[in-house]
């Protein structure tokens, strides 16, 4: 489970623990742990995951569409088109900003909640359960709920009007700059319960005597927290940041239900573009964007995970 102890690249046991080498490695394993156990899983992975990914590299360079039956190579035409009308750069930018904001918000919220609800009181346990409800809800539903909440004549403005005593009619979902930020915050709202659980698990694995030792050495509670306990949370941070960042790049439901990509396509993340273009029958263009998404996530995944893991090693 995501204890926060495991991370995405190196399995925990492979961290050079000396006790790992039980029994003869290699030679005897063929009989006791036969390779054919891997076959069904890898067959499925190959057909339904790797093969379509390979296809991406082929069909992004064709003129595949719903308008004609044959598929011909088209070189870099799709990319040329997407570059020239600016959608490629715009969608990429929107996606990266969205993902970075989600990672930031989700971790801030999740971490804050974990610290706030750390003690096992009756109230805290109830609050944790409540924060897990959005995790279970459909992301699409979350999008619709917030769309209703944030309409110009929606409940948020009603609440603000009641508090300030004057009519508030902010079009929360009408800004080409801030709507994206709001969408990211809502994405974070949906998933913060899960981040909270992982941070809580991380906090619980830190032995009490570590903090106690720090306190005996004269550290204030503030110091004890930030310079002793927080660095020990590094594995949980790695897991949460990497999954939030890379997961939200593949986001769709919340933004689609909230804004549908608007206003003026300012929240059109890559998957919304792919969905829209696919619906128009422009399959090759959709594939080209899908390849862009794949390459971006693949290129970002390695440095992100490496940087985060480096921080763990220092601690």
């Amino acid at each position: 489970m995501p204890t926060g102890q495991e991370t995405l690249t190196r399995p925990p046991a492979a961290r050079g623990a000396p006790g790992r080498r039980q029994g003869p490695a290699g030679a005897g394993r063929g009989r006791t742990h036969p390779m054919w156990f891997l076959a069904p899983a890898f067959a499925l992975l190959f057909v339904f995951f790797f093969l379509p990914t390979l296809f991406n590299f082929v069909y992004a360079f064709t003129d595949w569409s719903s308008f004609k039956s044959d598929i011909r190579p088209a070189g870099f035409d799709n990319f040329g088109f997407l570059l020239s009308d600016g959608t490629l750069v715009a969608s990429l930018r929107v996606t990266v900003v969205y993902a970075a904001l989600v990672a930031l918000f989700q971790n801030l919220f999740g971490f804050g909640l974990a610290v706030l609800l750390e003690k096992d009181t009756w109230l805290n346990r109830t609050a944790r359960l409540i924060f897990l409800i959005p995790v279970l809800m459909s992301a699409l539903a979350v999008g619709y709920v917030f769309q209703a909440l944030l309409k110009p004549d929606g409940s948020l403005n009603d609440l603000l009007s009641a508090v300030t005593g004057q009519p508030v009619t902010v079009a929360w979902l009408g800004s080409t700059t801030w709507t994206l930020v709001l969408a990211a915050a809502i994405h974070a709202w949906k998933w913060m319960g899960l981040s909270m659980l992982i941070y809580l698990a991380g906090l619980k694995t830190i032995p009490e005597d570590v903090t106690e030792a720090a306190r005996i050495d004269g550290a204030s509670p503030w110091q004890a927290f930030w310079s002793v306990r927080f660095p020990l949370l590094a594995p949980a941070v790695t897991f949460n940041v990497a999954t939030a960042l890379l997961g939200s790049m593949n986001g769709f439901d919340i933004v689609q239900a909230l804004t549908g990509g608007g206003p003026a396509r300012s929240t059109e993340i890559l998957n919304i573009f792919i969905y829209r273009t696919f619906g128009q029958g422009l399959f090759a263009q959709a594939t080209a964007m899908s390849l862009v998404l794949f390459l971006m996530v693949a290129l970002l995944a390695f440095p992100v995970i490496r940087v985060l893991r480096k921080r763990e090693d220092i601690t």
């Binding site: 156990f37 339904f48 990914t53 069909y59």
Partner: protein, 290 residues
């Protein structure tokens, strides 16, 4: 070593005086946070789902003049083709989860126990799907070539391909903490690999499989993106149905029905969660066995 994740009895640290105020303010802060942040959106769902069409035209937080939650749920159930979509969701979710858990655990056992370069490469490939996005568009083409386009079987295969990585990541990590001696004892008694896997490894995996089940169910039950590409228009699932009716004009200005639908759709997962919350939470936080 067993580490109870929640409800753990922790050693009391004598509270210093400066923390007294903060400790007393904390419960108030919790309530002050939960009510607006979670209470408002959830209340909006329930209240709006209980209103008449006229009242729900512009959803607000006021309670309905007359609660008609039951009627609205019934109306959605009939008009929104919920029974068909519910069956469609089950038809896809159950086999996908079963497949992913079985094949994932089998592969994880080998990946966890073998060593060497090849194994490391295979493991990296197997878990790459956790971060890498699936190629949604070309999957459609591939399924057409395989004759699986728009079918439940194709959808199940796609979900399996996407979520095997998650299962393998978690289960492999878990098996590495299981001592090899347990297997060896069974092997001494003459058990072959299949026997060892089925009667020694699988029973030990119960906690991690329980959590993986929840996570995968969560993803697959609520998925609309992949479903749209693979079975959109051919097979109804609950989220796909919500998406289509909310997009089409049918539910335009029918917030009460959309929110009633959301409640209907979330109930199964909420029910499972309510029954098994303690186990789920301790599973996700990895408290069970270390």
């Amino acid at each position: 070593m067993t580490v109870p994740a929640f409800g753990a009895v922790r050693r009391r640290v004598p509270p210093s005086r400066s923390r007294g105020l903060a400790a007393r303010l904390r419960p108030i802060a919790v309530v002050a946070l939960v009510v607006p942040v979670m209470g408002v959106p959830l209340w909006l769902i329930v209240v709006t789902a209980g209103k008449s069409q006229g009242e729900a035209l512009s959803p607000d937080l006021s309670p309905p003049a007359r609660w008609r939650l039951g009627e609205n749920l019934a109306q959605v159930w009939q008009q929104g083709e919920v029974p068909a979509a519910f069956l469609g969701s089950l038809l896809v979710v159950v086999p996908s989860v079963a497949l992913v858990l079985t094949l994932g655990s089998m592969a994880s056992w080998i990946l966890a126990r073998r060593t060497g370069r090849l194994n490391a490469v295979l493991y990296a490939l197997a878990i790459s799907g956790i971060v890498l996005p699936p190629a949604v568009v070309t999957i459609v083409l591939l399924l057409r070539q395989l004759g699986l386009a728009g079918s439940a079987a194709g959808m199940i295969g796609v979900y399996a391909g996407i979520y095997l990585s998650t299962v393998i990541f978690f289960v492999t990590g878990f098996i590495r903490t299981v001592p090899l001696s347990l297997e060896e004892a069974a092997r001494m008694d003459g058990a072959g690999p299949v026997r060892v896997f089925v009667s020694v490894i699988l029973p030990l995996l119960r906690p991690v499989l329980a959590t993986a089940t929840i996570l995968i169910c969560l993803y697959v039950w609520n998925d609309v993106f992949y479903a749209f590409f693979v079975v959109g228009g051919r097979l109804d699932t609950l989220p796909l149905n919500l998406f289509q009716v909310a997009n089409a004009g049918l539910y335009l200005n029918n917030w009460h029905l959309i929110f009633a639908y959301i409640i209907l759709m979330s109930l199964p997962l909420l029910a499972v969660f309510a029954v098994a919350q303690r186990r789920i939470i301790s599973g996700i936080t990895g408290g069970a066995v270390k």
